[in-house]
């Protein structure tokens, strides 16, 4: 996957540090980096608002505030796990996305509990965006990725979503490229199954089935 890279996070901090330097410095108590990191993390509530709107969740502002508090604390507590080579913003984005996915599941479970006996509740909260099918597919994909094991998920995130090359991922993971490729292709197979692509050999002329 070609993968377009976003402006480097260091640029957002005045270009002084890479994201890894920013995070490590902040964790070691460097005041300047902590303040820069704090400014960077103000992205969290804005991200949640945008994702929630685009996924058609339309959460109340108070719920978004609570969620932002939760994500903020989660991000801070997991910062020592941030190792690069990915950038900080996508890393934060994924935590936001995961938390929103949990909220979505919780809403679905609540709806299921409250539904009359025998009534079927759609698993996904309906999107109200214009591009509804696209959002639905994205939600399915996000859900499928979250079900992968940690190793496969990381490969998919770094190569499939972050756009790092197989070589970069292999260097970061300190494993042979073939191992990264193997994990990646097997993960693609699993994602296909989770997303509802037909299992086994297709016999319908090869037409793709949209989930």
């Amino acid at each position: 996957m070609s993968g377009s890279r976003r402006p480097h996070a260091g640029e957002a901090s005045g270009g002084q540090w890479t994201d890894l330097e920013l995070v490590r410095g902040a964790l070691q108590g460097d005041l300047q980096r902590r303040q820069a990191l704090g400014t960077r993390l103000l992205l969290i509530p804005r991200l949640l608002r945008v994702i929630s709107r685009r996924r058609g969740m339309n959460l109340a502002e108070s719920d978004l505030e609570d969620l932002a508090q939760d994500v903020f604390i989660t991000v801070w507590s997991k910062l020592d796990q941030f190792e690069g080579p990915e950038e900080l913003d996508p890393w934060v984005y994924r935590i936001c996305q995961y938390q929103l996915l949990n909220v979505r599941r919780k809403l679905w479970r609540t709806a299921q509990r409250m539904a009359p006996n025998g009534a079927e509740v759609l698993e996904e909260v309906p999107s109200q965006d214009a591009d509804e099918s696209s959002d639905h597919r994205l939600t399915l994909l996000e859900s499928a990725i979250s079900q992968l094991n940690a190793e496969s998920r990381e490969i998919i995130q770094l190569h499939g979503l972050e756009g790092l090359t197989f070589q970069e991922v292999a260097r970061h993971k300190q494993v042979p490229i073939s191992t990264v490729k193997s994990l990646y292709y097997r993960a693609l197979e699993r994602l296909g199954r989770s997303m509802g692509l037909p299992q086994g050999e297709w016999g319908n002329g090869g037409s793709k089935q949209t989930p």
Partner: protein, 220 residues
């Protein structure tokens, strides 16, 4: 799939060849069954590319969105990120198991002290009686006219709430704040009492016993 196709497919899954490699492309051109398997992987790759574009758009939109005052207040949750050392009364924080135990201990000791402090005379402003590191009451300034002047410092578990209890020592009537959460951190309950005893009770959504702060007697 025949043996040759299966063998090549296994090589793809072992990471020995890419699905863009010529031998894979050639096999897909020859075999419909094989091409279907390749298509499935490409389909997921296409979805991943869509997700990547979506993420980039969302990040760009979020970066351009204005930072609201309430967004900035989030920084208060991580005191290390700010130069501030004091906590606002609405400050929330995740409580570790250790601090939860400490809070429970404070609750027991604080409640026991409160039960035994009924005859204590008013002080102005008094020290934090039985104070602890977990919950510290901040003496309201003279002339306090509402409950918003009654501040406390400490951690509040996510999803929990607190109630400020103020007892007017002259009338023996209690002026109690509404249930307060992060969205109601600025109560404007009017207050006319001159001598009060006050304390805070933290309620947890997990159903554990409420945590009662030490009480403080003050003249306003």
């Amino acid at each position: 799939m025949n043996w040759e196709e299966k063998h090549l497919w296994e090589r793809v899954l072992r990471g020995e060849v890419d699905i863009e490699d010529s031998e894979v492309v050639a096999m897909a051109a020859r075999s419909h069954t094989f091409s279907v398997e390749v298509e499935k992987l490409r389909h997921v790759q296409t979805e991943l590319a869509g997700a990547q574009r979506d993420m980039i758009q969302i990040l760009e939109e979020a970066r351009q969105a204005p930072v609201l005052d309430k967004d900035r207040r989030l920084l208060e949750h991580i005191p290390e990120l700010t130069s501030k050392t004091s906590h606002a009364p609405w400050l929330w924080g995740k409580r570790s198991k250790l601090s939860a135990l400490a809070a429970l201990l404070v609750a027991v000791l604080g409640f026991a002290w409160y039960q035994n402090s009924g005859s204590r005379e008013a002080q102005n402003p008094g020290p934090v009686l039985g104070g602890s590191a977990a919950i510290t009451l901040v003496a309201p300034k003279e002339g306090a006219t509402s409950l918003e002047h009654f501040e406390w410092q400490g951690e509040l578990e996510f999803g929990s709430w607190y109630v400020v209890h103020v007892l007017d020592l002259e009338t023996q009537e209690e002026v109690t704040s509404p249930r307060l959460s992060s969205h109601q951190w600025n109560p404007a309950t009017p207050l006319t009492a001159r001598h009060v005893r006050w304390f805070v009770v933290l309620h947890s959504p997990s159903g554990t016993e409420p945590v009662v702060s030490p009480a403080l007697e003050v003249s306003l």
